[in-house]
């Protein structure tokens, strides 16, 4: 159910934003693509909100909308973490000279 804008929510938003700035400015350009994939996966947390709306079973319209929302955010969560890991797996240090 929609609620008014709580002052604590604004605090949280601002502080998290600052934290994000600090964290992300330390990430090397080398990993910017996996960073985008990772923030994508993490922002799939919209799934939890979608799940609650889908589960409230209000009527067919909200159910369908929420079903689509759950689908989209699941794609982001599952796909996002899979592809982040796939990308990160490729970053290797100097390999042993097994072939020339």
């Amino acid at each position: 159910m929609p609620t008014g804008l709580g002052i604590y929510d604004i605090y949280i938003f601002i502080l998290a934003g600052f934290l994000g700035f600090q964290l992300i400015s330390r990430i090397p350009a080398l990993l910017h693509t996996p960073l985008m994939a990772a923030t994508n996966a993490i922002s799939g947390i919209a799934l939890v909100g979608s799940i609650v709306v889908a589960g409230e079973n209000y009527d067919i319209v909200t159910n369908l909308l929420a079903y689509l929302a759950v689908t989209c955010s699941t794609i982001n969560v599952v796909g996002g973490f899979l592809i982040t890991d796939r990308i990160l797996k490729m970053f290797k240090k100097e390999k042993k000279q097994d072939k020339k």
């Binding site: 990772a38 759950v70 973490f81 970053f91 290797k92 100097e94 020339k100």
Partner: protein, 463 residues
């Protein structure tokens, strides 16, 4: 019950933050992301026990469809297509937030106060324009839509007026939450606005745009968190928004574009190309080089820096490049890769492509790290990069790319450029580099040329 759920969310938030922090180094990154995905699992499982949930049918259906759909776009997609895949998932995330906003409005619109209505309207608006905008980005990157900018007279005026109308409707609906039609018109206009916003932007500018939509998507998520009073969504939304914002600033700097220019959708792009500058050096012809001579150069070299660009990935030459580089390395030549921030089609894309070709990440260097090293390099090999190596960006004030940070490849002792023809890069500017005395052009398909070089080099050394 509620407190256990909140605890789950707190734990998950901490894990997300640690996960992002772990991306500071490739050594910790994988472990950190595993932690983050575990945090996600905790949050989801915790939510499933939420007492507000009375029916699991739609939830399970959504989870199953989503999981099935996510597999092909994650496990089998080639790395060259990552940018459009990321753009698609921005679209998906924004759509999810938008749909939940619509559902909440549909259900509660009779009882919404102004503040709540404002939040819902912002969420729906941001979500809708990010959705269609990101779809456009994905389409342009994938080549379904034309990659060149599409402009028409009065485009800026149309877009800006549309935006003003949307803001007016946003204010109006906040004051009159029961006005159904206004809400749905606002929704449709927002979808439309996303399309209009990306229409005038060319494929070469996508690194900036993709990062901006990352930021918008994050903000949409945060607003959804405000609406549902769900703190974890506020936190992740803020992190995501900050991430997209920082990346778009970095990309802007790398392309020498102002942040306002970008925040308003890079409207100014077209004016620049009109001032297409001609090449400024004397009317010298570029010097071609044969494979034999190029091999001679490499055999005498001690340090080689490779400057790759998107053209390399487009012609799938990165594997051939790595093979050639391995040969050089095996003969004691030091190899470094110089990565310009906009070398690929999204932030960090080039690093991923090279990592895919098994280039160790310790050989990859950012522009700022590598630029002081060019004067000491015996050979710089330019593969598929163009505008980012143009010395006119440093010296020629009239050039459209003047001021853009570039790789100082021209300062090296010798430069060898692999290129099909002398055609200009995305900016439409001719590259002064090709006419320098210390630059040689090796014409032909980059992949072919690299394979031939690798083959020839091996033979010459009998290795």
């Amino acid at each position: 019950m509620m407190s256990i759920l909140q605890l789950c969310y707190v734990i998950a938030s901490v894990m997300f933050i640690l996960g992002i922090r772990s991306l500071g180094s490739p050594e910790t990154a994988r472990r950190g992301m595993n932690l983050a995905s575990f945090g996600m699992l905790i949050a989801i499982v915790g939510t499933l026990f939420n007492q507000q949930i009375v029916n699991y049918t739609w939830i399970i259906a959504g989870l199953v469809t989503g999981t099935l759909l996510s597999l092909p776009i994650s496990l089998w997609i080639p790395m060259t297509k990552i940018p459009q895949r990321i753009a698609l998932s921005h679209a998906g995330g924004a759509l999810a937030a938008c749909l939940i906003g619509i559902a909440e409005y549909y259900r509660y619109h009779a009882s919404l106060g102004s503040a709540s209505m404002g939040i819902v309207a912002v969420e729906v608006m941001l979500g809708a324009l990010t959705f269609t905008g990101s779809l456009m980005v994905a389409g342009k990157l994938h080549g379904i839509l034309p990659g060149h900018p599409i402009t028409y007279k009065g485009q800026n005026i149309v877009n800006i007026s549309l935006f003003i109308i949307m803001i007016a409707m946003l204010v109006y609906i906040s004051l009159n939450p029961e006005m159904n039609t206004v809400f749905y018109i606002l929704l449709s206009l927002s979808f439309l606005f996303g399309l209009f916003l990306v229409t005038p932007i060319g494929a070469a500018d996508m690194p900036v745009v993709i990062a901006i939509f990352n930021s918008y998507g994050g903000l949409t998520g945060a607003v959804m968190g405000f609406m549902l009073a769900n703190r974890i969504q506020i936190i992740t939304g803020a992190l995501d928004g900050a991430s997209g914002f920082i990346l778009s600033i970095l990309m802007c700097k790398a392309m020498n574009r102002s942040i306002t220019n970008v925040l308003f959708g890079a409207f100014g792009r077209m004016e620049e190309t009109e001032a297409k500058a001609k090449r400024t050096s004397d009317t010298k012809e570029p010097q071609p080089i044969s494979f034999e001579d190029a091999l001679q150069f490499f055999e005498q070299a001690k340090t080689v820096i490779i400057a790759p660009g998107y053209g390399m990935a487009a012609s799938q030459a990165h594997h051939a490049l790595r093979e050639f580089a391995d040969k050089l390395k095996a003969n004691g030549i030091s190899i470094k890769y110089a990565i310009h921030p906009v070398a690929g089609r999204m932030p960090g894309h080039m690093n991923v492509l090279l990592a895919e070709a098994n280039v160790p990440y310790t050989d990859l260097f950012d522009m700022d790290e590598i630029n002081p090293e060019f004067p000491h390099a015996d050979i710089v090999l330019v593969v598929g990069a163009n505008d980012v190596t143009n010395p006119a960006a440093r010296t020629v004030k009239s050039s459209p790319i003047y001021g853009m940070p570039i790789l100082d490849v021209d300062k090296a002792k010798k430069v060898i450029v692999l290129k099909r023809s002398l055609s200009p890069g995305f900016s439409g500017v001719e590259n002064d580099l090709y006419y320098k005395d210390n630059t040689w052009m090796l014409f032909g398909d980059a992949k072919d040329s690299l394979s031939k070089l690798a083959y020839g080099f091996k033979r010459a050394w009998g290795a």
